[in-house]
């Protein structure tokens, strides 16, 4: 029996549009389990990113509730949400979004500095360890504009996990990368998941989806299907691909 780390009930999100309402999410019920590598798939405009940001408290749902540690994030104050962002949650974006005037190392340590439970030298040591793990320690003092997209994304992942978050949110982390960099980033995420990191990733990339232990399909703002998978194993990638492909076809992807 897996522990639910984050759940949502009746989650709705709509925007005012041309005098009417544009419903992006409608009454989504979802549970994210501890230690899972959950992937949300769906066509463009299906509301994947909106769901991710509503679940993470970065965006407020129009209706429904998002429960984390017994608290409804929809009603949390900004200060509480900010604390969750630098403590319990980590984020990886499609466009990396590193702070352009900070070096890669500084990009990683700055959110670490917000953590009051660790001192600066501990944070620096851990950042160094993460950079080595991500293979970017040799460019630690480079600025984001001086490194490749893959290196930037690896840095962004290191930044996301600097405070050892309980849940890592990833929004199309390979969307802006080439094939080689995509594989590297996915390997890193898989590695993190194997070491116990819970991940919720949004993607429409089949290769990324193969890394999941659970795939949710989102269509027109609703979860329309779920596929549970065995933990990822490179040797079984072909058969896994067939299985996911068949399931996605069934979902009319």
């Amino acid at each position: 029996m897996k522990n639910v780390i984050l759940s949502a009930k009746g989650l709705c999100k709509s925007y005012a549009h041309n005098g009417g309402q544009n419903h992006i999410l409608s009454h989504v019920d979802i549970e994210i389990y501890d230690g899972d590598f959950t992937v949300v798939m769906g066509a463009s405009g299906s509301g994947k990113s909106t769901l991710l940001y509503a679940l993470s408290g970065m965006d407020r749902a129009t209706a429904g509730e998002v429960l984390y540690n017994g608290e409804n994030l929809v009603q949390c104050k900004e200060k509480k949400l900010a604390a969750l962002r630098h403590g319990d949650f980590g984020f990886v974006f499609q466009q990396m979004h590193l702070v352009s005037n900070l070096s890669l190392f500084e990009n990683i340590v700055v959110p670490g500095y917000l953590n009051k439970n660790k001192n600066a030298s501990e944070i620096k040591a851990y950042a160094q360890e993460l950079m080595e793990k991500m293979g970017i320690s040799h460019i630690k003092s480079h600025l984001p504009s001086q490194v490749s997209g893959g290196e930037q994304q690896r840095c962004a992942i290191a930044r996301a996990v600097i405070n050892s978050p309980k849940l890592l949110f990833a929004d199309e982390p390979t969307g802006a990368l080439n094939r080689h960099n995509t594989t590297e980033v996915l390997n890193l995420l898989t590695e993190l998941n194997r070491s116990g990191q819970s991940i919720l990733m949004v993607t429409h990339d089949m290769r990324a989806a193969l890394r999941a232990s659970r795939i949710l399909y989102l269509e027109d703002g609703k979860i329309t299907g779920t596929l549970d998978l065995q933990p990822y194993n490179k040797e079984e990638e072909k058969s896994r691909e067939k299985q996911v492909d068949a399931w996605l076809n069934a979902m009319e992807w």
Binding site: H97, N101, A120
Partner: protein, 791 residues
């Protein structure tokens, strides 16, 4: 017709773009407009007030039919021969002389003014100022017995009012008169001119005149004549040259107690307004530089942020000239709107400030707006701005339509990085510092603006400080007087020794002088002369003090006016006596706006001047000055009248108030400018860094953290600008003030720095920048992390 339609089409393109740009950049438009409102309002007000003062003064001179030269001469010196020679001089059109009674000093409510006042009969050519002091009465009522009309200059200097009783000391007797009203007397009515005309009834004048004729001894004779001499119509000499020639030919000035040309009177009367106007005009000039810097920043960042749109416009066939024209029109329109509003707002300001110089100039100023002159100056500002915008928008030419359309915009967030670490402790401050160092070029404009504001605020502080600074006044004038005495009888060496002995019982004497003053002529030009018993008190800027009886020192202003140099030989004359002297040095004096020279008593004896009239002391224990003055008056009542000057005989209250008012205006405008500048810079920075703000929020920074970072960054900018401004002030404030204050005779301005000189302007600007940035960054709340989502 087709060509005409084509023209309209081309114009419409520009108008459409212009409208779009203004709509999209309302903030910049309003900010530039607001800055221009302040500049146009200040400029129009300053120019109008100056013009009004000047015109009103000229009208007043015309009204009283003032002579080109006013000579005050003892009755016995104005011989028939001298009068005839003067009247018949080829360069003289007319000579008018009226009898006056000379009062040696004026007293009111315990306050004494040692300058001479001349009592004369009422003359209905002089206009009476109304009770509200904003216009003139139609008629001037006749005076009754015991009543007087005085000038505003006396009101300012004596702090008296209508209905008060003033005491005059005529021919050794005290005469009291009640003030009935204030008249505009332009020749010597200004508070900065020592002599004053006082109008009494015909009956009182005749009684006094006849009474004194019978009993007064000649050495304290109050009988003088005010002689008005009018220049011949065909005389093309300046007033100064004409007076010199007239004096050389007739000796009228040499025989007089003193004289005043119309030009001198005009110069002295307009002096203080000119100083204030000059300072404000320099300030307005600097504000204009600030507007240009703000515009430059706004345009540069606008081009960066609109890179894609501008590229698209280029791809659609817009030439860079057309796009630049839109920028020029957009900003000139903002300036034009601001200038129009500013000029309108200046109307009530001119009305309320119109008579701000009345206490000094003593004539009521009209309240018309100098629209033509202001518009001409504003037009030149538009031309400068237009050219500046053309230069700044040059970078539009470098925009590549292809790169813009394909989204290949260059990185705009920062241009360089200083490798300063970011620490956990004080994270917001370190991040703010990093953001600042990463975008130095972007903040260069803001730093320049702060430095200009701080420089000017410090300059005004320095001006204010120096007026009350003992060390600065001493450095500029040689001595800071804490007690002075006027001798009733010619003193001798024994009296000096006795006085000093008594003073030593209270405090050791730090510095002292015994002197007299006279108007003497140098090569025919009448100049105010200070004659010292011990001339080594004079601080010579160049050369040395006059040690021998054939030496004089002159001010730089006299040197320039008379084209004299050290080592030159000059002829100094007084009452038909003359001798040759050598210029031994250059010194500084603010008397007679710097038209001063000095010599030793031995030197003056050759011209028949051998009496000392004034003594001045400064003490090791300055707090004893009032006691010492009291003691001198008690011990030597028949010989002298002493007065303490606890503040070193500093400036009159009027000037201090005027300078403080100017300081207030400059500080207020600086704060408003700081607000507008911060708003503009913050808004642009905010737009450029919206994504970064989103990232920080996603990382767990709170809105308050980010606002604090933002405000700290502007605090750092303010500090950097303040350091630069302070450095510029240290280098330039003295020179700037010297060049402006040269008008009043200060050629070597001694800057006196105190902690406040730095602290007040710097802290005011820094606090304003910090608070305004914190305020403007309120919109940070609206930045959602969703900004980072790529759908």
């Amino acid at each position: 017709m087709a060509e005409c339609n084509g023209m309209v089409g081309a114009d419409m393109e520009i108008i459409t773009l212009l409208k779009g740009n203004i709509r999209g950049r309302k903030g910049s438009f309003i900010s530039i407009m607001l800055l221009m409102v302040i500049i146009a309002m200040a400029l129009t007000t300053v120019l109008s007030v100056r013009d009004n003062c000047s015109k009103s003064y000229e009208n007043a001179l015309e009204q009283v039919h003032a002579g080109d030269l006013t000579v005050i001469i003892k009755n016995e010196n104005l011989t028939d021969d001298l009068l005839e020679k003067t009247e018949n001089h080829s360069m003289v059109k007319e000579v008018v002389h009226i009898p006056v009674l000379c009062s040696d000093k004026t007293e009111f409510a315990g306050k004494t003014n040692g300058n001479r006042a001349f009592l004369r009969k009422t003359d209905d050519t002089y206009k009476l100022i109304n009770q509200e002091k904003n216009t003139y009465e139609e008629t001037i009522p006749a005076l009754e017995h015991g009543e007087i009309y005085i000038t505003q200059g006396i009101v300012t200097n004596m702090d008296c009012h209508i209905g008060d009783t003033l005491k005059f000391f005529v021919g050794g007797e005290e005469k009291a008169f009640r003030i009935k009203g204030i008249v505009a007397e332009p020749v010597m009515g200004a508070s900065v001119i020592g002599w004053k005309q006082v109008f009494i009834s015909d009956e009182d004048f005749d009684n006094l005149y006849n009474g004194f004729s019978r009993k007064v001894k000649s050495d304290i004779s109050p009988f003088y004549q005010i002689v008005q001499i009018y220049k011949a119509d065909n005389c093309e000499l300046s007033d100064g040259q004409w007076r010199r020639q007239l004096n050389l030919d007739t000796g009228i000035v040499n025989n007089a107690m003193g004289s005043l040309t119309k030009s001198m009177s005009r110069h002295y009367t307009n002096l203080f307004p000119e100083v204030i106007v000059s300072i404000l005009m320099v300030f307005i000039g600097l504000l204009l530089v600030i507007v240009l810097v703000v515009m430059g920043h706004s345009i540069s960042t606008g081009i960066e942020m609109d890179y894609v749109n501008l590229g698209i416009l280029k791809s659609q066939g817009f030439t860079q000239e057309k796009i630049r024209l839109v920028f020029v029109l957009q900003y000139l329109l903002a300036e034009l709107a601001g200038a129009a509003v500013g000029m309108l707002l200046s109307v009530p300001l001119i009305n309320s400030l119109g008579n701000v110089f009345l206490p000094i100039m003593a004539v009521v100023a009209q309240k018309s707006i100098s629209a033509g002159k202001s518009a001409a100056v504003l037009l030149s500002i538009f031309i400068i701005s237009g050219l500046f915008i053309v230069v700044i928008t040059g970078k539009i030419g470098k925009i590549s339509p292809v790169r813009a359309i394909t989204g290949g915009r260059r990185e705009i967030y920062f241009d360089s990085r200083i490798n300063v670490p970011v620490y956990k402790k004080g994270l917001s401050l370190w991040l703010a510092f990093r953001q600042f160092t990463a975008g130095k070029k972007r903040y260069a404009g803001a730093i320049l603006i702060v430095s200009i504001l701080v420089f000017f605020m410090m300059t005004i502080m320095i001006l204010g400080n120096v007026l009350n600074s003992k060390s600065a006044i001493e450095a500029m004038t040689g001595m800071y007087i804490e007690c002075d005495a006027e001798f009733k009888k010619a003193p001798d060496e024994q009296l000096f020794q006795a006085m000093e002995q008594k003073i030593q019982e209270y405090s050791p004497i730090k510095k002292k002088y015994y002197m007299t003053t006279e108007y003497l002529s140098i090569n025919g030009d009448e100049i105010y002369c200070q004659i010292y018993k011990e001339p080594d008190i004079i601080v010579a800027d160049k050369g040395r003090a006059p040690l021998y009886d054939n030496e004089i020192v002159i001010t730089e202003i006299v040197a320039d006016e008379l084209n004299l140099h050290m080592g030159d030989e000059v002829v100094v004359a007084h009452n038909n006596k003359e001798d040759e002297y050598i210029v031994s040095g250059i010194f500084q004096s603010v008397n007679d706006t710097g038209m001063v020279f000095a010599m030793s008593l031995e030197g003056a004896e050759k011209l028949g001047i051998d009496k000392i009239y004034y003594a001045g002391y400064s003490f090791e224990q300055p707090n004893q000055c009032e006691e010492i003055a009291r003691m001198l008056n008690e011990e030597f009542p028949d010989y002298l009248e002493a007065e303490a000057a606890p503040n070193g005989g500093g400036l009159e209250d009027t000037y201090v108030v005027a300078i403080n008012a100017m300081k207030f205006i400059i500080y207020t405008i600086s704060v408003v400018f700081a607000l507008v500048v911060v708003m503009m810079f913050c808004t642009k920075t905010f737009m450029q860094e919206k994504t970064d703000m989103g990232i920080y929020k996603a990382l767990g920074f709170t809105t308050f953290n980010l606002r604090l970072q933002f405000a700290l960054r502007f605090l750092i900018i303010a500090l950097a600008g303040s350091i630069l401004g302070a450095a510029v002030s240290i280098l330039c404030s003295g020179r700037l003030l010297s060049s402006i204050l040269r008008l009043i005779g200060v050629t070597r301005f001694v800057v006196n720095y105190t902690a406040d000189t730095f602290f007040i302007p710097v802290s005011l600007i820094c606090v304003c920048f910090f608070l305004f940035a914190l305020l403007v960054s309120g919109k940070m709340k609206r930045v959602a992390v969703r900004e980072l989502v790529t759908e």
